[in-house]
Symmetry: C2
Subunit: 378 residues, 2 copies
C-alpha cells in the first residue's frame, strides 16, 4: 500500500486540496447477504457495493468483498454462505449469517487498511460494537434514512452510543436527526450510465416510476398530470408483501388508471426503462418522505428528462432548481412547474448526472475518504 502514484485535485472536502494517492490499499467491502453482488435486478445497496468494489479493483487496489458465494467480482471473494439468503427462504430478521459475515471480516482486520461496512438491515448494527477497538480503519455508509423519531428510537439510541465512529451519508439531508454523528463525508450514489442515452426529442407524456407506496406519491403525480391536462405513464413494481403498500395500490392508484390518460406500464427492463425515461416530457417525483437519495431522479436526468420533485429528502441536492428541473411543495406548484419545462435544457440534465452521479465519481469519492483515513486526516 505504500507506493505513491498520482495527485488529483479534490473538491469534495476542501476546495482545491491536494491528496497524495496510495496505490494498492487493502480494502474490505462488507455487503448484505440476501442478494448477489451485483444484484440481477432490484437491490440498491447491492448495486452500489458492486460498483465501488469493481471500481476500486480497476484502480489497482487490493479489494476483498465479503458477500455470498454466487456473487460476481474481480475482487477477492469471501463467503460465509454459498448463495443469496433469500433463495433459501432465510428470514430478513436472521442475524446469524450477518454475524458470521461481519465477524469474519473484523477477525481479519490486521490484513486490511480499510473496512467499509454497508449498513442496510438491522442486523448490520452489530458491526458498530465490533468497530470500536479499530475505529480508525472502519467506515460505515448508511443506506437508509437516519432513524429519527417515530418508532425507531431503538436504532437512534444505538447510533448515539456509537456516534464517534466514521459515518458516510449518501446525501446531506440524510443526516437530519443525527447531526451530532461523526459524519466524515457525503458520497452521493453513482449510476452506470451505459443503459441511459440522452434523448433530445421527447414525447408529450409525464412519467412516474417507482415502487407503489404512499411515500413515493404515485397518487399526487397522477393528480398533477390530470390538473395539467396531460397524459401520465406510471411504471414500477406492485408490492404484494407489504399490506399497506398493496392497499395503497388497490385503493389509491389502480382506480385512477384508465390506460388512456393514466397509463400503467408495469415493471420494465433496462432497454425499456431508457426509452420510457428518455421519451418523457418530465419526470414527476412528489415524494412524501425524506428519501435519503432517489435513484429515479438521477436516471431520468441521465436521459435528459427534467425532474419536478417535492422539496423533500435529497431532492434539493440531486436537482439543480430551474436548470435540471423544479423543486416544489404542492401538487399545484407541480402543475405550474410542468408549464415551465420548456425552459429546461435536456443536455444540461444529462451533463449534471455525468458530472456528479456516476459510478466512477462515487468510487473516486470513496477512494478519497479512504486515503484521508490512511493519512490520518479524518
Amino acid at each position: 500500500m505504500n507506493i505513491i502514484v498520482s495527485y488529483r485535485i479534490n473538491f469534495h472536502f476542501l476546495f482545491s486540496q491536494k491528496i497524495t494517492y496510495t496505490k494498492n490499499m487493502k480494502i474490505v467491502q462488507i455487503a448484505p447477504l440476501w442478494e448477489n453482488i451485483p444484484p440481477p435486478l432490484y437491490g440498491g445497496t447491492e448495486r452500489i457495493v458492486s460498483s465501488i468494489t469493481e471500481g476500486l479493483v480497476t484502480k489497482g487496489h487490493d479489494v476483498t468483498l465479503f458477500a455470498v458465494g454466487t456473487s460476481h467480482t474481480n475482487a477477492k471473494l469471501v463467503s460465509v454462505y454459498p448463495r443469496p439468503l433469500f433463495r433459501d427462504h432465510i428470514a430478513w430478521t436472521n442475524i446469524m449469517y450477518p454475524l458470521l459475515n461481519i465477524t469474519e471480516a473484523f477477525d481479519r482486520e490486521k490484513e486490511f487498511d480499510i473496512i467499509h461496512m454497508h449498513l442496510n438491515k438491522s442486523s448490520d448494527y452489530l458491526a458498530l460494537s465490533l468497530a470500536v477497538p479499530i475505529k480508525h480503519k472502519v467506515v460505515f455508509t448508511l443506506h437508509f434514512p437516519y432513524p429519527v423519531a417515530q418508532n425507531r428510537d431503538d436504532r437512534h439510541a444505538v447510533f448515539q452510543k456509537y456516534k464517534d465512529l466514521n459515518y458516510i451519508s449518501i446525501s446531506n439531508s440524510q443526516r437530519r436527526g443525527g447531526e451530532n454523528m461523526n459524519w466524515i463525508a457525503t458520497v452521493y450514489n453513482g449510476i452506470d450510465l451505459t443503459p441511459f442515452t440522452l434523448n433530445h426529442s421527447p414525447q408529450n407524456y409525464l412519467l412516474w416510476l417507482g415502487k407503489f407506496n404512499p411515500d413515493k406519491g404515485t397518487r399526487e403525480a397522477i393528480q398533477a398530470a390530470q390538473k395539467a391536462g396531460m397524459t401520465i405513464k406510471i411504471a414500477g413494481a406492485i408490492d404484494k408483501l407489504e399490506g399497506a403498500n398493496f392497499e395503497y395500490w388497490e385503493k389509491e392508484v389502480k382506480p385512477l388508471i384508465d390506460n388512456h390518460r393514466v397509463i400503467f406500464v408495469g415493471e420494465v427492463d433496462d432497454v425499456k426503462k431508457n426509452k420510457l425515461y428518455g421519451n418523457a416530457y418530465a419526470f414527476l417525483n412528489p415524494i412524501q418522505w425524506n428519501e435519503p437519495f432517489g435513484l429515479v431522479m438521477v436516471e431520468a436526468m441521465a436521459t435528459g428528462t427534467p425532474v419536478i420533485s417535492f422539496k423533500n429528502g435529497a431532492a434539493p441536492e440531486l436537482i439543480k432548481n430551474n436548470e435540471t428541473g423544479y423543486l416544489v411543495d404542492t401538487v399545484d406548484e407541480m402543475v405550474e412547474a410542468i408549464g415551465k419545462i420548456d425552459a429546461i435544457d435536456r443536455k444540461t440534465c444529462r451533463l449534471h448526472v455525468e458530472k456528479h452521479f456516476t459510478e466512477a465519481i462515487m468510487t473516486n469519492n470513496y477512494e478519497d475518504v479512504y486515503q484521508k483515513i490512511l493519512d490520518n486526516m479524518i
Copy 2:
C-alpha cells in the same frame, strides 16, 4: 474480591475436590429485556437469572444485574430500558435493545471478575463475538436446546465459530449435537421450594401441565390415561399466537376434553398449582422432543408426585427411574408404569428435589464455576 472465607466440599466437578472460596466477587448477570427480573408469572430464563442474582447477593458477592428498569433486585441494577420491552410492543426480533444491554456490560468489563450471559433469544448471540477478547471471564448459559440439525444450521454455525468460549449446559442431554463445544459445567435449574409442599395422600387423577403444543405430548398423556382407565386433569396456557400450537389445541386436544374423565383446568396460580400437583396420583410427561430441562417434572416431584416421562431430553437426568418415577418410550409403557406408581415413595420424590434442584444448590453450583474461573482452573 480477595478475602478467602470458607471451604466447601464440591461434588460437581470432581469428587471431593476442595475449592477455596473468594468473598465479594464482582459478578455481572446479563438478563433478557422482554420481562422483569423476576417475572411476575411465566418466564423461565428470567426466573433463573433472578434466583442466581439474589442468591449471590445473599452470599456477599458484588452483583450487577443488567435488566429492565422495573426489575426487583438487591443487586446493582443497570438498565438500558425502563420497563419490559413486551409492554411497549417491541418485536421479539428487535436486536437494538439487547445490543445496548450487552455492550453496556461488556464495555465495563474491567470493573468485573465474571460476566455471566444468559443466552435466551437469537439477538443474544451477538455477545459471543464480543466475548472473544475477554473470554476467560465470560460464561454463557444456554437456556434453549443446542441448535442441532433442522432449520437451525445458522445458529449451529455461530456456536461452532465460538466453540472455545465458556459454556454451561442446564442438562447433559442439552449438549447433543454440540459435543465439541467448550462445556465447562452442567448446572441444573433450581426452583424456589416455598410454594411446593409434600402431599402424602394424593387423589386418584393423573396430571399433565404445560403449554399446549405437539412437543409437550398433551394428546399422548390423555391417551395413556384413557388406556389406564383413569381421570386426567390437563392444565396450562393455550398459545393463541403460534398457529401450529393453536391448531394442535383446537384439533388434537380440545375434542378429547369431556370434563369428566378428561378435565381442563386452564392456567393456575402458585397456590392452586401446588394443590394440583400434590393431589395428583402421577404426573405424565410424554414429551416428543429433547427438552433441555423440564421444570414441570421438578415441580411435580417437589409435591411428592412421581413423574412418568418419555425418555427424551433431560428426563433421565431429572427422574430417578424406579425411585421418583419411570422413564418410558411409548404410551403403552406409560400405561404399564401407571400400574406401578404405588411402588414409588412420595417422600423420596420430594427429597430428590431438595437435594438436586433448588435455587440454593443452583446458586452454589454457579458460584463454584465462577470460583474455578478465578482460580484459572477452567
